[in-house]
């Protein structure tokens, strides 16, 4: 007889679905089937069962081969490289729990590390824009219950956040939106006709890299100003029409993604999108929400925020916290060669950083804490596999709208494996020992 566990939280994307059901074997050790989740989420759960999983830390040898070691030895090595480094980079944090992040921060405080999360190559520009102009926002339940005008700008939930549309934004039936998708007008703005665009009532094909101009034009049109015949490849008639659709709504929500955060204009695109949202509040109700990627990148920003006051790019190397994206951001530090030791937790810069940065990671002592084998583990000197948060250990996570949800444990990790919070706890102990600090 198998058992079905309910109310499980999916540790994949920022949608943080909490209605997953997982069928496990009678002894509770084997995941048999995953229900309600998207294809990516299912794969994440099922992959935990993979027979080729690495279950013990391993050190890279001179000849490039791996040699198995113990968690204790790996913790000693990690503590040593962090303490020896003048400016260690402690990067990632987005696919782990807030508890693990917090332990990592206590290590960083002692070794003078730079704490940065994946926002640095993702929604960091959104965080900078919030610091420029604020952010009128709401929880996803407000979208579900009230929103009748939805814009997806430079994001493709059909592929990146597959259940976003059914749970919150397009098809969900809420209190004041009983007709689901029929009670909403969907607008997709993207240079490419994506699968999400095919679901839209209005698809606006903006010229690549011209989002700022189109957002400005929408603001101008909202104020009744004259426009040139075409802006960013969109006719003025279309722009006025879109503005009428938005003004005619009761509750407008703009979702945006990497298409605007890291294309030409970067944080200024978001400034303008936020300003458009604020302007819309003069006519109706409007909110804007970033489509955050990793399931707990939002949580990393929160924990850094309450402990040090900044959401990413936090440099503790001078004994107090400094924040200056462009100077204290991971890629800038790596490319300038300022970093002499690296700890990567719950993310994969090997896949997502520019090759010049990845080469630097390869050239310095790097410990990668990750349940999986990734391009980052390949360039690290030490790989520490750990239990998977949300599957083999619980912990606090924050959804893209900052709602905190406690993820659950579904099955035990393979025998003898530690969680990342436990491993970081061992590292902290070693660091305390090296620094001569009483616990």
């Amino acid at each position: 007889m198998s058992k079905r566990l309910t109310d499980i939280i999916c540790p994949f994307c920022g949608t943080l679905c909490d209605d997953i059901e997982v069928e496990v074997s009678d002894d509770g050790k084997q995941i048999l089937e995953v229900y309600n989740s998207c294809a990516i989420g299912s794969e994440k759960f099922l992959h935990a069962q993979s027979p080729d999983r690495i279950t013990r830390p391993r050190m890279k040898q001179e000849d490039g081969s791996w040699k198995e070691t113990t968690y204790e030895e790996a913790a000693k090595y990690t503590a040593k490289i962090l303490c020896d480094a003048k400016k260690p980079l402690m990067y990632g944090w987005s696919s782990t729990s807030c508890e693990a992040q917090s332990t990592g921060h206590m290590i960083a405080e002692q070794v003078g590390g730079v704490l940065d999360n994946t926002a640095t190559v993702c929604h960091g520009s959104t965080l900078i824009a919030m610091q420029d102009v604020g952010i009128p926002s709401c929880t996803l339940g407000e979208v579900k219950n009230r929103a009748d005008r939805i814009i997806f700008w430079g994001c493709n939930p059909a592929h990146a956040h597959p259940r976003h549309m059914s749970r919150y934004s397009i098809y969900s039936r809420g209190y004041f939106t009983g007709k689901g998708s029929k009670s909403r007008k969907i607008i997709v703005v993207d240079p490419r006709p994506t699968d999400s665009a095919s679901l839209a009532d209005e698809y606006i094909q903006v010229e690549q890299g011209r989002d700022y101009e189109l957002l400005s034009a929408l603001r101008a049109a909202l104020r009744g100003a004259q426009l040139p015949d075409k802006v960013s490849g969109v006719t003025k008639e279309k722009i006025y029409e879109i503005v009428d659709i938005l003004k005619g709504g009761r509750f407008v929500v703009i979702f945006f993604g990497m298409g605007v955060t890291h294309s030409l204009g970067k944080n200024h695109n978001i400034d303008m999108a936020i300003a458009l949202t604020a302007d819309l509040n003069n006519y109706t109700k409007a909110s804007i929400i970033a489509m955050r990627g990793h399931y707990n990148v939002t949580g990393s920003g929160q924990v850094l925020g309450w402990q040090f006051g900044f959401p990413f790019c936090v440099d503790l190397s001078r004994g107090f916290a400094r924040y200056n994206p462009g100077e204290t951001s991971s890629n800038d530090l790596l490319m300038r060669g300022e970093v002499d030791g690296c700890l990567v937790v719950g993310s994969d810069p090997g896949s997502h950083f520019p090759i010049a940065s990845v080469k630097k990671i390869h050239d310095i002592p790097t410990v990668c804490i990750d349940p999986h084998t990734t391009p980052t583990t390949a360039v690290s000197t030490c790989h520490v596999p750990v239990a998977i948060v949300g599957i083999e250990v619980g912990g606090s996570c924050y959804r893209m709208d900052n709602v905190p949800i406690e993820s659950r444990k579904v099955v035990d990790p393979p025998a003898g494996m530690l969680t990342d919070a436990e491993f970081l706890g061992l590292v902290l102990k070693e660091v305390n020992h090296i620094k001569g600090v009483a616990e």
């Binding site: 109310d7 939280i9 909490d18 209605d19 807030c98 917090s102 405080e109 002692q110 919030m130 610091q131 420029d132 102009v133 604020g134 952010i135 009128p136 926002s137 709401c138 929880t139 996803l140 339940g141 407000e142 579900k144 219950n145 009230r146 749970r167 919150y168 809420g174 209190y175 009761r250 509750f251 604020a278 509040n281 109706t284 109700k285 909110s287 920003g301 929160q302 924990v303 850094l304 925020g305 309450w306 402990q307 040090f308 006051g309 900044f310 959401p311 503790l316 001078r318 004994g319 107090f320 916290a321 400094r322 924040y323 606090s396 924050y398 900052n402 709602v403 905190p404 949800i405 406690e406």
Partner: protein, 569 residues
């Protein structure tokens, strides 16, 4: 646990009516005791003031909107020194919205040991608790917001008090909350459609209930549940000229309701940051104080308490569950605006603000707070707060004490204002020569708020048997005459003891303490109707499953301290 004897201080304790007598205070096993032989540690407090640890009844120190205030204002970290990591002290930064570590250290420096987080959105309760868990030293509790909650609006509209009570008890348990907070009743729900409720008779869109019904209903439920604290209210129409009539209308709703609890609380309504609600005039041009009118009402109605929300004339970050207010404030100052509407429950907004003493409106706001506190007849019912960080950061409390205790200090500020005459003209502050005593300050900052919170039997005083939260300030009331010394001394407690543990020793933090977190668990009659409503609503309208909603006490709270109440009788 060590035993400690604090010798020879000027002891001030309104709970026992002690007014600066030279006495010894003994501590054993975390509690205050009558006497002690062979103490492990003796503190010589000669020439210094000894008081119970301070109690802050209303402060925004933890949770979702506080953290937005931190992260969206990097400039806030540049306004004061970012204190480096040192020994057991974590690095600590931020000015109007300090990090959790700095919050704790600065409260400790002021001799405060208990702080109430004043607005917890239920859906974000876990976040509030995570921040409180990471805040060392100080004991905390959080008040979840109910004034715009769909369940509450629905039950109260239909007059179903039993159902409202059962739901509120369930939500307090789920969020590990301490009491009933109500912010802009109905107005924040209206704000979800871009609207507001500005008087107590403005109907809430769709729900068709008025703020009057919400406030009355919540007071009734509060007493039905025998909660330690009363309804904690931020009424409608905050911050607008002429709003004092709304405030008086709201306060009058408390008439006829009787306190019903076993915690020594005597009020049925706590109106918070009353300064923001005591404005006359019709526009900002003829803006004036109506502090006297509002305080006259409070003076003559013992079932009402208030905290002031003193404007400190600083650059700060305003943050409140009153979403529409922040939108309008942003229309005034055009700085950045953050807003979060929370599904089915509440909302919030955040806007940086500069209270400049050269802007006459700010000057008048500053006057109103002081005027009201000086006109108060019973400081056991009128408390010192800045609605941190809304009217100013909490670490300005000592400066407010200076203003309250010295007419000269007040006049010095008035004299530097660009619009001094206009400011003097718009309030009665200039004609008040009252100077509060340390005894009254102790009432406003410890004994009073502790009693109003229903914590009066354990904190806020120095009675043997109480929790040993004690502050020693380097201030000699017999010899000191310089008002500046008041501000300095109350910002630099020489010793602080929390639950019998030395936190500050000779002004240095020597321990991160063993903070605890209060919450209230009320037993009510099982109510199938409410259980069904909750189940259905979670399935249909929430985006989080009911089983993932409750805050796990053991994971997210440090030393949870549950107040058990049986409301079935």
């Amino acid at each position: 646990m060590t035993s400690i004897l604090i010798k020879n201080g000027f002891v001030i304790d309104p709970v026992q009516g002690i007014r600066g007598d030279k006495m010894d205070i003994a501590i054993n096993d975390g509690k205050i005791v009558k006497n002690l032989s062979n103490p492990d540690k003796t503190i010589d407090a000669s020439g210094m003031v000894v008081m119970a640890g301070g109690v802050d009844i209303h402060s925004h120190v933890a949770g979702a909107k506080v953290n937005v205030g931190r992260t969206f204002r990097p400039e806030d970290k540049l306004q004061s020194t970012y204190a480096p990591y040192h020994g057991i002290r974590h690095m600590a930064g931020g000015t109007s919205v300090p990090t959790v570590f700095k919050t704790a250290y600065m409260y400790a420096d002021m001799g405060y040991t208990t702080v109430i987080e004043a607005a917890m959105p239920p859906l974000y309760a876990r976040h509030t608790h995570e921040e409180m868990r990471d805040t060392p030293i100080i004991d905390e509790a959080a008040l979840p917001m109910f004034g715009n909650n769909w369940f509450v609006l629905d039950y109260l509209k239909r007059g179903e008090m039993d159902n409202a009570a059962a739901y509120i008890a369930w939500l307090l348990r789920s969020t590990k909350g301490y009491g009933i907070k109500c912010v802009n009743p109905g107005g924040t729900e209206a704000w979800a459609w871009g609207l507001n409720c500005l008087s107590i008779d403005d109907p809430v869109p769709y729900f068709d209930i008025t703020p009057r019904q919400i406030v009355s209903g919540l007071m009734e439920v509060n007493e039905y549940l025998h909660l330690p604290h009363s309804l904690h209210l931020h009424s409608n129409n905050l911050g607008n000229p002429g709003n004092y009539t709304t405030t008086l209308d709201t306060l009058k709703l408390s008439e006829g309701i009787k306190p019903n609890n076993n915690f020594g609380r005597e009020q049925v309504l706590h109106h918070t940051h009353i300064q923001f609600h005591s404005y006359g005039g019709t526009t900002w041009a003829d803006f004036e104080s109506k502090g006297k009118e509002v305080m006259d009402y409070i003076n003559s109605h013992p079932a009402v308490t208030c905290d002031i929300g003193f404007v400190t004339l600083d650059e700060t970050t305003t943050m409140t569950g009153d979403g529409p207010f922040e939108y309008h404030l942003n229309k005034l100052n055009h700085l950045k605006w953050a807003n979060t509407d929370v599904e089915l429950e509440c909302g919030s907004g955040i806007v940086p603000y500069v209270y400049s003493k050269d802007v006459y409106v700010c000057g008048v706001q500053w006057s109103i707070g002081l005027e009201m506190a000086l006109l108060a007849k019973d400081h056991m019912r009128c408390y010192l707060t800045t609605d941190h960080p809304n009217a100013g950061p909490f670490w300005r409390y000592p400066r407010i004490m200076k203003w309250l205790m010295s007419e000269k200090a007040r006049n010095d500020v008035l004299a530097t204002m660009k619009n001094e005459d206009k400011v003097r003209d718009r309030s009665t502050l200039g004609s008040i020569d009252r100077e509060l005593t340390l005894y009254e300050i102790a009432q406003m900052t410890r004994a009073g708020p502790a009693k109003a919170l229903g914590l009066g039997s354990s904190v806020g005083g120095l009675v043997p048997g109480m929790q040993a939260d004690i502050a020693v300030y380097p201030y000699n009331p017999e010899t000191e005459s310089d008002p500046e010394k008041i501000e300095w001394a109350f910002s630099h407690a020489k010793y602080l003891i929390k639950s019998g543990e030395v936190i500050l020793n000779d002004g240095e933090v020597v321990s991160n303490g063993n903070k605890k977190t209060y919450w209230v668990d009320v037993k009510t009659t099982p109510n199938r109707q409410v259980e069904r409503d909750i189940d259905q609503t979670f399935v249909k309208y929430y985006t989080v499953n009911k089983n993932n909603y409750e805050v796990n006490e053991h994971e997210f709270m440090k030393n949870p301290c549950v107040v058990q109440i049986d409301a079935i009788q």
